[in-house]
Symmetry: C2
């Protein structure tokens, strides 16, 4: 059954959903489109998660020496202190260059079907290799990353413990796998999960109304599944293209990946968990107000003007997707040696 | 008694210090020049330390929104994952500008008599106000910091809880005091402390020999007290000026603070705790090898060529100053609101 068919079947009234029976009905319909976070860390493809690998991945995630300059770590743009992103329109990277698209949150990203706004990376391990090499981000090379890691005996030990069956474990592939393993632990259970799991009181009345509106109006056609998005591609401006301020004409989205005309201005539907922690919005990062973002989605994707009450209800519901962060103990990183490649802020022209 | 007199009285042989009696004698002489870290967080001037204030200070320390761009936090250049500094010659800041001097470690900095390489800040609260306003560092203004903090109700609550007797607690002064309170907790007890506190086995034989050499040769004339430095000002090149690569002629150090000719090329003696975690060395950050740094100190400050064995012994001793980090739980920061000033990477010309 397609998502649109599911929407068609959902006939929840946004009016009176206060009673236990109504909450149960709302839950049944929601469970047809969404899923609660699992209670354990998900299994990864070709990447067994072990405590050693998670610890290594955390160190790598926070290590600014993975960038050429020594300024940026994964956590710079996917900051676990601020919702797993950097709260700016597009990130500032190597040489003070600006990235092309808004940095998405790393939280719960393991549940996305593919990574990046255009889905060009199949999983988090593939994703992790991108920014580290991007000239406008960390501006490093796989060879320099591996040389940096190999220069520190502590990292060598940690790679050996994380990939015990490999004779030469310090590789760029394993660097990415360890980061993926760590990121898979960054899961934030939210009130919405408690509601899906059976707690009628986990959502406020307004949040329940918002959930009903979210399903009734068709938002859930694209924003469904465990992450309420992150699992499908849709044209931004399905019904009506937003202005160039929100949808810059030079970024054609997934077209750049598939080179198929149909994919012009197609982007992965944003996953919506923790969305109220991660302004500004859209791939362009041009919209700071979640209410405005919801209203734009109404006109551009659904072809309808959501009224103020509906917007408020939806925003209230989105607030129920903000979850609890796992406790993150800040790592103590291996000490550099005389063999560690020196940081350089030099910008190499393309 | 001056430090130099203390040195003159110290007549420890670096030869045979293996027995308990010899360790005890070495400890007595060391206790005449150094002090172990206290077992509790030190009291601050005009700044009572409370758990609420420490937690607030930690949040501020890690919050990149304290910089104009949203890129840099205190932790960017004083990274608690890498010895409390950033492991580069001089830091990269706003607009990709390079700072003038090597970033010193924040660890145990509360025990320094004054802050910065030239001692221009009396304490950590005064220090904390510097980088946030420096155009080449965080490039922010006190007014914008306060507006940023006031835009987030969570920060307002935390300031109220930290400064309960104030009617308008969200101020730049209190911002600095909270950071000072947090930084006062960043204390790293080391094997050398255990030795000073009575544990003969806390240092290796080579480290004990290094301690004896460190005292005998006169290093402790400048590097003494609880931080083995950080408590006095000395000309770099007291006996012989190092080359311009190590001592750039355009940075006259404390002269820029006091405008006294005598203070030309005078710097605060570096505190030496965790020194093997914080390469590169000196205010210029030009020397990556601790052995080379020790040898330069021999020629420039003591007028003597330390032989290879002595350098090795001193470096081994310095390793005993590397302490255990307190566990740092990475903070979850307050969420921005529509009133939060927007980050800007724009560089405003002087």
């Amino acid at each position: 059954m397609s998502s649109l068919q599911k929407i068609a079947l959902a006939s929840v009234s946004a009016m009176a959903i206060g009673s236990a029976g109504q909450a149960s009905e709302l839950r049944d319909q929601a469970l047809d489109m969404f899923a609660a976070l699992p209670s354990t860390i998900p299994a990864l493809n070709n990447n067994i998660i072990t405590p050693e690998k998670v610890d290594l991945g955390k160190a790598l995630f926070f290590d600014p020496r993975m960038s050429a300059s020594g300024v940026f770590s994964c956590n710079s743009c996917h900051n676990l202190a601020t919702g797993g992103d950097d709260n700016m329109p597009t990130s500032i990277g190597h040489g003070w260059q600006k990235g092309p698209r808004n940095s998405p949150t790393v939280l719960n990203a393991v549940f996305n079907e593919a990574q990046f706004w255009d889905g060009r990376a199949a999983d988090l391990a593939e994703q992790a290799k991108g920014p580290v090499q991007a000239g406008v981000e960390m501006a490093n090379t796989p060879a320099n990353v591996v040389a940096t890691l190999n220069s520190m005996p502590q990292y060598q030990d940690w790679f050996q413990a994380s990939f015990p069956e490999e004779s030469d474990p310090v590789t760029f592939d394993n660097f990415a796998k360890a980061i993926e393993a760590y990121e898979a632990t960054l899961i934030t259970p939210a009130p919405f999960d408690a509601f899906l799991n059976g707690d009628d009181n986990a959502l406020t009345e307004q949040q329940k109304e918002g959930l009903a509106v979210f399903m009734d109006k068709g938002c859930a056609a694209c924003h469904n599944g465990v992450n309420l998005g992150g699992n499908g591609y849709y044209p931004f401006g399905l019904i009506e293209k937003p202005g160039a301020d929100v949808l810059p004409p030079d970024d054609r989205g997934r077209f750049q990946v598939t080179e198929t005309a149909d994919d012009s201005y197609v982007f992965r539907a944003s996953p919506l968990r923790n969305i109220d922690q991660t302004a500004p919005y859209f791939h362009s990062g041009k919209v700071w107000d979640l209410e405005v973002a919801v209203a734009i989605m109404g006109t551009s994707q659904l072809g309808m003007e959501l009224n103020e009450q509906e917007v408020d209800q939806i925003v209230a519901f989105l607030g129920s997707l903000t979850g609890e962060m796992p406790e993150v103990v800040y790592p103590v990183l291996p000490t550099e040696t005389l063999d560690t490649p020196r940081p350089t802020g030099d910008v190499i022209p393309n």
